[in-house]
């Protein structure tokens, strides 16, 4: 792949990126969340079309109009999101779209399909019956089926997007054996992983992406885990967005102890104090949203305690809201806002109880409260009656904040608050967060953007595999517990264990 560029509305995902892989080698592709790895892979498998650049196979330029084209050219991909069909059995899933043909035209040779699926799964160490529907398998087993599906295509170019994310050590060892065998037979492999150790075990070349550009291409022997982390983070630009950071936190607002939740969160302990912005960092899928939902009562808690201002929370989101907890979800458009209603309706919806305790709606009070929030948060809207749909992303996010301000919340949980909004709007939103903590509220912020965590948070917890693995402070006592991008990445990526 040479000089690939791709832009999405508002984002330049890839800028002049090149990637090459020789037959019989493993090319590792490395980068932070949002560095452009997934976009590059989707272009390689024909699901996206590049704005510029070319793809060459055996030195010949090819055009990939669809996934079918890519497949015909011998490109197979193991996707991070599972591409299994829940109610088809394992053999049907592995051979979906490429079923072995029976003697009568149009029919499937079921026996051959199951025999070959059996052989593939045996090679990967999965002894599940090939007649089991896929939805009955666990995540790790589904991942193995996914790998078998890609292997079954006898591809010449095999792309693996975090194949080991859900696997146990034993399964990983099996997978690496298969990869070595594939190398022997001349298959070219592109390998994406966040587990840096295994890159040194399996990789022949490493290409690092950052912000949609190539930053390095090197051999594993030329670098180290620390060196790779530095390349992924890049030059240290220390911009801070806060007026001043919180040196003397106030009372404990949120206290989470030994929280286990049905969504997989384990043994979480979190403290957030009044006046503090606390980050929740980690890679996509580390369980940050799940932790936030468990705290908010949106997902079932199995054991452990969540206290707000010293009192245990009542069950469910209603209990959290009554105790003054606000959640600004990741998908603000579907979970946080009523897009087809006005700004005023949206900011008032959570605060109706507070504003009208008697249950009697009074238009004058409602209008005053809405106008107050609009001016305090500087929501750019021509009028309170404007439909939220027509606001920019940053202003929509402010409406979500405003909704909880009126409700009188004192703990704000933000899930990726600046996703998809431009730089100017981000700065405004950081100002809003700064204003919230200055007013004595506490903020817990999930963010996948490392610079943002470092620039905005007073402290940060780092999560991996649905558990908190460390805490970083602005003024750490040792070099490895100071809040820096390197330290976050190191903790998030399974290093030093």
């Amino acid at each position: 792949m040479r000089g690939i560029s791709k832009a999405f509305p508002g984002v330049r995902a890839l800028d002049d990126v090149s990637l090459s892989v020789d037959a019989g080698t493993v090319q590792v592709l490395l980068g932070q969340n949002g560095a452009g790895k997934s976009t590059l892979i989707r272009i390689l498998c024909g699901a996206h079309h590049p704005d510029a650049g070319e793809i060459l196979i055996d030195g010949r330029g090819v055009r990939l109009h669809s996934p079918a084209d890519a497949r015909r050219l011998g490109i197979a991909v193991i996707f991070q999101e599972f591409s299994l069909v829940p109610y088809l059995n394992l053999a049907q899933n592995i051979y979906l779209g490429r079923e072995p043909r029976g003697r009568i035209p149009g029919t499937i040779d079921h026996r051959k399909m199951h025999e070959e699926a059996r052989r593939l799964l045996d090679g990967l160490g999965l002894d599940a019956d090939t007649r089991t529907p896929a939805h009955e398998l666990g995540v790790a087993q589904q991942q193995v089926v996914e790998i078998a599906k890609a292997l079954s295509q006898n591809a010449r170019i095999l792309v693996m997007d975090e194949p080991t994310a859900a696997l146990s050590d034993r399964e990983i060892a099996r997978l690496f054996d298969r990869i070595r065998a594939l190398k022997q037979s001349g298959v070219a492999i592109v390998y994406i992983s966040h587990r840096l150790q295994e890159i040194f075990e399996i990789g022949d070349r490493i290409t690092v992406l950052r912000d949609g550009r190539n930053v390095a291409s090197l051999a594993p022997s030329e670098t180290s885990v620390d060196g790779l982390v530095r390349l992924m983070v890049g030059r240290q630009v220390t911009t801070t967005w806060r007026e001043r950071f919180c040196d003397t936190p106030g009372d404990v607002v949120l206290e989470v102890r030994d929280l286990h939740a049905a969504n997989g969160v384990r043994a979480a302990a979190v403290d957030v104090n009044a006046g503090e912005v606390v980050g929740l960092a980690g890679l996509v899928g580390a369980g940050r949203t799940e932790l936030a939902r468990a705290i908010f009562g949106a997902d079932r808690v199995v054991s452990g305690t969540v206290r707000v201002a010293g009192r245990p929370l009542a069950r469910g989101p209603a209990g959290a809201v009554r105790a003054g907890v606000a959640l600004a979800p990741e998908n603000r458009k579907t979970e946080g806002l009523a897009l087809m209603r006005s700004v005023q309706d949206n900011v008032l919806v959570a605060g109706l109880q507070t504003l009208f305790p008697a249950g009697w709606y009074r238009a004058a009070i409602a209008a005053r409260a809405a106008a107050d929030v609009i001016s305090r948060l500087r929501i750019a809207t021509p009028s309170p009656a404007r439909l939220v749909r027509f606001l920019s992303g940053g202003n929509q996010q402010k409406v979500v904040v405003g909704k909880w301000l009126i409700a009188g919340s004192r703990l704000f949980i933000f899930d990726e608050p600046t996703r998809g909004i431009d730089v100017g709007a981000k700065a405004e939103l950081y100002g809003v967060i700064d204003g919230l903590v200055a007013g004595g509220a506490a903020v817990l912020m999930i963010s996948s953007e490392l610079p943002e965590v470092v620039a905005v948070c007073d402290r940060a917890y780092v999560m991996r595999d649905r558990a908190i693995v460390g805490e970083l402070k602005r003024r750490g006592s040792r070099s490895d517990n100071i809040l820096t991008e390197e330290n976050i990445l190191r903790m998030a990526m399974h290093h030093g264990q």
Binding site: C45, A47, S66, P67, A68, R71, R72, V77, F79, E81, S83, L84, V85, P86, Y87, L88, Q92, N93, L96, G97, R98, E99, G102, G106, T107, I108, H110, H135, E136, G138
Partner: protein
């Protein structure tokens, strides 16, 4: 191994839709209390009455598995029946008339598919629209009157028996076998399940997903058109409103048979059981002289009861600790 045996048992318990158990119970109850229920002529009668419904419920199963819906089937069937009867009345040969009826059905099916797949309309809305169009056309063509005087060829064919089995049951069984073969022996089964379960996976597998998806709706229209053969044959006439609401029975049969609107889960055997259960319930209540107004409510009760039994079985059969 004991646990393996239990897993096998669990598998079998779950592979029978809840309606299967209900059907057995219903048959036992009606046989005990309904005079003349458990006789061969009555069972054949249930089969004859269920044959048209099965022709609609088969493609409806595929459509619902793909997370879609076709509300136009009853109206399209009525229209096709009127077309068939009119052509027979004008002295055309039976095969020409049948081809015309099937063509009308196919056209509506393709239209449904294009509206849903190509234009992205919600299936409920798109097929509600074509329902209105088909019903309106049927009324316009006939002026609201029945089309009679269709000659002897079709009624004679309909009354014929093959090895003692009524013609309509033979046709319904053939249709069932054809669909079953298609789903279990060809790629169609995998693709239908993938459409509802993981459309993205099917796209990435390089399948022409849109075309295939339209094809499912086309099959629904085609089967509605072909069902006119049995409907018009039974009545020896074309009624413009003969099959109103039959699509809801078809949906009920599919749901009772254990097919769900989500994730591409469903079986044709379940649908057959669903059709039989509805037929047995109707017939049994008739034998017991239950007023027809109450019979309408009974279908509603049946649908809900089948779903409750299904979710109970699912809860019992699920291995401990796994998520649904």
């Amino acid at each position: 191994m004991a646990s393996e045996g239990r897993a096998q048992a669990r598998h079998y318990v779950r592979s029978v839709p809840g309606a299967g158990y209900l059907l057995v119970v219903l048959i036992l109850v009606f046989a005990l209390f309904g005079e003349g229920f458990a006789t061969l002529p009555n069972f054949l009668n249930i089969g004859v009455q269920g044959s048209v419904l099965l022709l609609l419920a088969l493609p409806m199963t595929l459509i619902i598995m793909s997370e879609g819906l076709d509300l136009s089937m009853g109206a399209v069937l009525s229209l096709a029946g009127v077309v068939l009867a009119s052509m027979l009345m004008n002295g055309r040969p039976l095969w020409v008339a049948l081809a015309a009826a099937a063509g009308v059905g196919l056209a509506f099916g393709v239209a449904n598919g294009v509206l849903v797949v190509t234009l992205g309309l919600p299936p409920f809305v798109a097929t509600l629209g074509t329902l209105g169009i088909a019903q309106g056309l049927a009324l316009v063509l006939t002026g609201g009157q029945s089309v009679v005087g269709i000659g002897d060829a079709l009624p004679a064919l309909y009354e014929s028996r093959i090895a003692g089995v009524p013609f309509s049951i033979v046709i319904a069984l053939l249709a069932f076998l054809a669909f079953w073969w298609m789903l279990s022996r060809t790629r169609v089964g995998s693709y239908v399940s993938a459409l509802g379960g993981n459309r993205e996976a099917l796209t990435l597998a390089g399948v022409h997903v849109d075309l295939f998806h339209i094809g499912i709706y086309a099959a629904g229209g085609l089967m509605s058109g072909c069902a006119a053969l049995l409907l018009t044959g039974r009545m020896s006439a074309g009624h413009p409103t003969a099959a109103i609401g039959l699509e809801f029975d078809a949906v009920a049969a599919v749901i009772v048979g254990g097919t769900s609107f989500e994730r591409g889960n469903g079986t044709l055997a379940g649908t057959l059981i669903g059709v039989l259960t509805i037929g047995v319930l109707r017939n049994g209540l008739n034998v017991l002289s239950v007023p027809s107004s109450l019979q309408v409510a009974s279908i509603g009760v049946l649908v809900i009861a089948a779903l409750v039994v299904d979710s109970t079985i699912a809860a019992l059969g699920r291995p401990a600790g796994s998520r649904p």
